[in-house]
Amino acid sequence: MSISIKFFASLREQLGRDDCELEAGTVRTVAEAWARATNDAAMPVNTLMALNMEYVDVDTPVSDGDEVAFFPPVTGG
C-alpha cells in the first residue's frame, strides 16, 4: 500500500499537481509527507491539512493507507 497525498485550490495550482502517492514507511508525520511530496518546498503560512478527511496538524503521525490533504484557508458559503 501507500500514502495518498492531495492538494487543493491555489496550493494545487502553485505546486502544479493535485495528488501523488508516497511509498508507505518513508514518512512518519504529516510534515514529512508534505516535504517528500513537494521536494521540500516551504509550506505557505495558513496551509490547512487533513488526515483521512479530518483536520490535523503537521505533527500528526501517518500510516500505510492514509490520505493526507493540504489546502489554503477555506472560502465556501
Binding site: 491555489s10 478527511m53 472560502t75 465556501g76 458559503g77
Partner: protein, 144 residues
C-alpha cells in the same frame, strides 16, 4: 438531516419547501430558520463575472454532516438541511442553503447562524473569481 453538494443550480426556497414537506413533521415545529448565501456581482471593489467553486469530495460532506449532528444535539433541532453548490457559478446564483427546524425560535435562529459560521470557517470549499482582468482565488472568508 441532509447534506448535499450539487453542481447544478438550484432554487433555494423551492428546495426548502420540498424538504419540509418530505419531513412529515408538520405541527411539530414552530420555527424554521433559513439562510441563503448568493453570489454577488461585486466583491472587494471589483465586478465579478463568474466564479469557480472547488471542494474536497468526501471531506466536505463528512464535515457538513459532523456540524449538522453537532447542531442537532446542541439545540434539540427537529431537522436540518444543508445544500451547497460547486463548479461554475454565475452572479445571483444561490451558493449555499442552510435550513433548520425546531419547536421554539431561539434554537432555530442560533443553530442556523452557528452552522453558517462553522461552514464558512472550516468546510473545505474554495472560490476562484473571474474578473475582467483575469482570475483570482478568494483569500479568506470574513468572520460573520
Amino acid at each position: 438531516m441532509k447534506v448535499e453538494i450539487r453542481e447544478a443550480g438550484f432554487e433555494p426556497f423551492a428546495e426548502v419547501s420540498r424538504y419540509q414537506t418530505a419531513m412529515q413533521a408538520a405541527g411539530k415545529f414552530g420555527a424554521a430558520a433559513v439562510f441563503v448565501g448568493s453570489m454577488r456581482d461585486f466583491n472587494e471593489g471589483d465586478t465579478v463575472e463568474q466564479m469557480w467553486l472547488e471542494h474536497y469530495p468526501g471531506m466536505t460532506e463528512k464535515y457538513l454532516e459532523k456540524i449538522s449532528c453537532d447542531a442537532m444535539e446542541r439545540w434539540d433541532l427537529l431537522d436540518s438541511f444543508i445544500l451547497h453548490r460547486v463548479g461554475r457559478i454565475c452572479p445571483a446564483d444561490a451558493i449555499v442553503l442552510v435550513a433548520v427546524w425546531s419547536a421554539h425560535r431561539a434554537a432555530a435562529f442560533e443553530a442556523s447562524r452557528w452552522l453558517m459560521e462553522e461552514l464558512k470557517s472550516r468546510a473545505p470549499f474554495w472560490k476562484k473569481e473571474t474578473l475582467s482582468e483575469g482570475e483570482r482565488w478568494v483569500a479568506k472568508n470574513t468572520p460573520g
